[in-house]
Amino acid sequence: MHEEITIGGFGGQGVLFIGRLLTEAAFREEREVVYMPAYGAEKRGGTVWCNVTISDERIGALFIARPTIAVAMNSASLNRFKQTTKADGLLIVNKSLVPETVSRGDISTVYIPANDLATEVGNSDIGNLVVLGALLARRPVVSLDSIHQIMKDSLGEKQQLLQMNQKALEKGYRWTKKEYTG
């Protein structure tokens, strides 16, 4: 197994957070993993992105030029990923904020109204977890359980927040399973 995942969005959309979740999960599942955040210029506003490479072998490049899985949380990142996503790759788009679509036949796409779905579970801000659910629904790079466990470990005391997050994750997962069966 070797997946190269890039996630992009606005600062504040929790892009780095779901990147870290994936990394931690892969780590717990005893895979090789590299997490590489964008840093610096993007610190204050602008588009933030991060790379997560998960593999069964020693990982080379820290950077991902052509992701096998790309997640676009805003238009700017879609603009980028629609070019770079690898053939046979998966591109997930947050339809709530990104009106554009992609016309490439050689990749799979998921258009998910992440913030709307998040609002349904009670917090429009956690569209990132909805998207993560979607990702795992289409490419189980790590298990949903690992993610749940990590959230439980870190948010144990904050039951309400934890439950909301879990719901968002599940929501994205189930929504995607349903909409994009196969």
């Binding site: 870290r20 990394t23 931690e24 780590f27 005893e30 090789e32 993993v33 590299v34 997490y35 590489m36 955040p37 840093y39 610096g40 210029a41 020693r58 990982i59 080379g60 490049a61 820290l62 950077f63 030029a65 052509r66």
Partner: protein
């Protein structure tokens, strides 16, 4: 694998230093190594050790000088512009034979530049950015694990040779997060009878790099030369990957090496016999191993995040007939496996 931890490169250096029993840390904030300083600001006091956020990189390197002269394992960490400010201090430390560790998490330059990762400080670290004749042992990690391991190694080598040791990752490695196997802490530190610890029951000690008359200073420099010679003989480190059947060998370190790894995998999949030679010590540079290799392989590709610095040492190492090409990025931009593959393909057909 319970002893593994996920860790950012910068933090791994900090924890590696603590494991190596670094007793004093001095630093000044600069991106992309702020997390390292911040981590030390918490961890060093926790361990009952010295942490001072200094007024500048100049103060930091001179505090390291003082702490290490007084027998403590001491470290400072910075990034490129701050490292430039430390060149005078490094020359003093090399001159006075002060064992200490200086970390330069390199960013894009010259000038204020940017905060992307880069390797444009190669000459500065390896050839000596300061004045006078000296060398700094320079270690180039290429994974978060090595950030920790080489931080520890750096302290060992510093003490072994009474010489400053530079850890020279690029900014990308500082930010990258990878699993790390924690190492056992160092418990036994070397004796330092030369250190400035108070002239109690022994003749006084003096630490300096000075003589009124050049004729008196030269023998000291001659001793340093001997030491550098010993270091060259004993401390060369490198890694070779797929060298046995390689028709083309890439030479790379740090995050450029990581991209080269991926490029090599891609090339091999395409049937191209590519290997990698990775210098781990930049000083002492693995001259002999590369030279030997070039008896067999005639085609080399240097991959670096600078405008052609590493390539000079590679050229100086290779046999006469070997051909060397360069593929690089610079100014804070990472190099992708794709560009490297392209360069490989160009050479190999």
């Amino acid at each position: 694998m319970s002893e593994k931890t996920l860790m950012a490169g910068n933090i791994a250096i900090a924890e590696g230093a603590i494991l190596a029993h670094c007793q004093a840390y001095f630093g000044y904030p600069i991106t992309p190594q702020n997390e390292l300083l911040e981590h030390m600001s918490k961890r060093m006091p926790e361990e009952g050790r010295v942490f001072v956020q200094t007024e500048s990189e100049l103060a930091a390197i001179n505090m390291v000088y003082g702490a290490a002269a007084s027998g403590c394992r001491a470290m400072t960490t910075t990034s490129s512009p701050g490292f430039s400010l430390q060149q005078e201090g490094l020359s003093y430390m090399a001159g006075a034979e002060i064992p200490a560790v200086v970390v330069n998490v390199m960013r894009g330059g010259p000038g204020l530049g940017d905060i992307g990762g880069a390797q444009g400080d190669y000459f500065q670290a390896v050839k000596g950015g300061g004045h006078g004749d000296y060398h700094l042992i320079t270690l180039a990690p290429s994974s978060v694990q090595e950030m920790m391991d080489f931080a520890m190694l750096a302290f060992e080598l510093a003490d072994k040779y009474r010489n400053p040791v530079i850890l020279l990752p690029d900014g990308f490695l500082g930010q990258a997060i990878e699993p790390v196997v924690m190492r056992p802490p160092v418990t036994k530190l070397p004796e330092k009878p030369w250190a400035i610890t108070g002239a109690r029951g022994r003749p006084k000690n003096i630490i300096n790099s000075f003589a009124m008359d050049p004729v008196d200073y030269q023998p000291h420099v001659a001793l340093l030369r001997q030491k550098f010679q010993r270091i060259k003989q004993n401390e060369v480190r490198y890694e070779g990957i797929n060298l046995d059947d390689a028709a083309l060998v890439m030479v790379a370190y740090g995050s450029a090496f990581r991209s080269a790894m991926t490029a090599m995998q891609m090339a091999r999949q395409a049937g191209l016999k590519v290997g990698i030679f990775r210098p781990i010590t930049l000083f002492p540079f693995p001259v002999a191993p590369l030279s030997n290799l070039s008896q067999k392989v005639k085609s080399f590709l240097v991959v670096e995040l600078s405008l052609g610095q590493l390539i000079e040492d590679v050229r100086l190492s290779l046999s006469a007939e070997a051909k060397v090409e360069l593929v690089n990025q610079f100014g804070g931009v990472p190099i992708s496996a794709d560009e490297i593959l392209e360069a490989i393909e160009k050479i190999m057909k």
